[in-house]
């Protein structure tokens, strides 16, 4: 496997993420000062990730496995820049399309047409690009007849169709997928899988979190196994997956 620097697209260096586990949130000044006076402002520290280092090369399909709460989603959020790590360095070369939760950028009061432009802007695309891609997006989602309906009247499957179409229309260099392949009906799911495969062939780097080990085995070439915020194992898909299944 080529690990020369120019092909490196994501690298995490000794990344740790700590959260404050103060049982309640301090949302008011009064509480804050009372706690400050009582010297109760020292929170319990929760370590979500500890000294994680790994590299992803261009064109990799990188899988992350692990039990609930092992830090998979935190890792994805750190890579996509949503969370800043407490310690360590993250470097990402290239544009990211996060499919962390479909439809995050939607305003359900607006129509689908308006939301497509809004969501495109959320992902950092210019209006010009969105205008060019608009027809493709609509065609892929098959929602032509509902374009001018406010999205609050959509079913969740319909929302997901639009969201997936927008997120994957402008080909990103890195695609982050967090358990969303169960979108819509089986026909659309097949379409989604096909699109992701197309992207893989086109050289897009994919980071995939899934609980379905079959899916990981089928798609990925490298896998990282997280356990309680630490890397238990990282390497080729076969050795990690078989170790994970036997654990």
């Amino acid at each position: 496997m080529n690990t020369s620097d120019e092909k490196m697209i994501v690298s995490l260096d000794n990344v740790s993420m700590h959260f404050n586990m103060s049982g309640e949130k301090l949302d008011s000044l009064k509480e804050y000062f009372i706690k400050l006076l009582k010297r109760q402002l020292f929170f319990k520290k929760y370590v979500a990730l500890e000294n994680i280092s790994f590299k992803i090369c261009k064109g990799d399909v990188f899988g992350i496995v692990g039990l609930n709460g092992s830090g998979k989603s935190t890792t994805l959020k750190i890579i996509s820049g949503i969370l800043k790590p407490t310690k360590g360095k993250v470097s990402v070369q290239g544009t990211i399309a996060p499919l962390i939760e479909l439809g995050a950028g939607f305003d359900l009061e607006l129509t689908a047409r308006e939301n497509i432009y809004l969501n495109g802007a959320v992902l950092g695309h210019s209006k010009k690009i969105m205008r060019e891609k608009f027809d493709d997006i609509v065609e892929f989602s098959e929602m032509q007849n509902f374009l001018d309906v406010p999205m609050k009247n959509y079913s969740s499957g319909m929302v997901a169709r639009i969201a997936f179409s927008v997120a994957t229309m402008v080909r990103p260099e890195i695609l982050i997928v967090d358990e969303i392949l169960a979108v819509g009906d089986f026909q659309f799911q097949e379409k989604c899988n096909k699109r992701i495969e197309e992207m893989m062939e086109g050289g897009t780097t994919i980071i995939l979190v899934s609980h379905s080990i079959e899916q990981i085995e089928a798609l990925c070439n490298k896998v990282m196994w997280l356990e309680k915020g630490k890397i238990r194992m990282i390497g080729g898909v076969d050795e990690v997956c078989s170790a994970y299944k036997n654990s």
Partner: protein
């Protein structure tokens, strides 16, 4: 470093535009008069206040008609109070987005200010109508200096963005601010000569209130340029410039310092 910030900003300008457009669409969706309300509303409020004050007060606040005096001041101040209150909650309101996608978070506060600013430009049409009405009546005469009003407008905008950034950042940690800010803007409004003449404060030995109030400088310059045909002297502009730079850079620095912790509190 700065270049990277700039590139990030440019990349998200389309988002700024889309969010502003969304606010407009949602504000006037299903209303019959739509955007006309942005002009009609300040006009109606002005009529109410003017009729109230013509009953309560015998003497007008200055030699200009009260309606003109009031609407010039209130146009600017309503922008300030509307923009700051809406940018205050902008980060909290967009929590779902911030948790799932990377976006420079100051965009949300900036967008609310931009939206209110455009709204103010629309309500300026109402202001111009009132001014035109009194010009035709012969009570005031138009001055070429009114083309310079963009200067105090610009200062007000920068000042408001600075305050908006500070508020939006602090509100994430202390929600109390949401409740108290309404009171503060009310006090602030009465500390700014909008409904009463500047002399009133002077006569009561309260001139320091004006001197400490940045909004006074903006409103006063705005009125002088718009109605009186007086170009404020450079020291006024210089002072406004300094105030704006301090508030904006303070806002940016504070926001930058705490923004990484937003996600843990929203």
């Amino acid at each position: 470093m700065l270049k990277a910030y700039w590139r990030d900003f440019v990349r998200f300008i389309p988002l700024l535009i889309e969010l502003t457009a969304r606010d407009f669409k949602l504000k006037y969706r299903r209303s019959f008069l739509g955007i006309v309300w942005s002009m009609l509303n300040p006009l109606l409020i002005m009529i109410v206040i003017t009729s109230m004050f013509s009953i309560l007060l015998k003497s007008p606040p200055s030699d200009m008609p009260f309606a003109v005096y009031y609407i010039t001041g209130s146009t600017l101040f309503s922008f300030f109070s509307e923009a700051t209150s809406s940018s205050m909650t902008s980060v909290i309101m967009n929590a779902s987005l911030i948790k799932k996608v990377y976006i420079p978070k100051y965009i949300f506060a900036l967008e609310k200010c931009a939206f209110s600013f455009i709204n103010m430009l629309l309500s300026s049409i109402a202001m111009l109508m009132v001014v035109a009405f009194y010009v035709i009546q012969g009570n005031i005469c138009p001055h070429i200096t009114m083309f310079l009003i963009f200067i105090p407008l610009f200062f007000t905008f920068i000042f408001t963005v600075g305050i908006g950034l500070i508020l939006s950042a602090l509100t994430v940690f202390f929600r109390d601010i949401m409740h108290i800010w309404n009171v503060i803007t009310t006090i602030w409004m009465y500390a700014t000569p909008i409904m009463y003449p500047v002399e009133l404060l002077r006569n009561h030995g309260l001139e320091w209130v004006i001197k400490l109030n940045p909004m006074f400088y903006f409103v006063d310059d705005f009125r002088n340029l718009m109605i009186n045909g007086i170009v404020p002297d450079m020291s006024h502009f210089l002072l406004s410039f300094i105030i704006c730079s301090v508030v904006l850079s303070g806002g940016l620095l504070l926001f930058k310092k705490v923004q990484d912790r937003f996600i843990l509190h929203i």
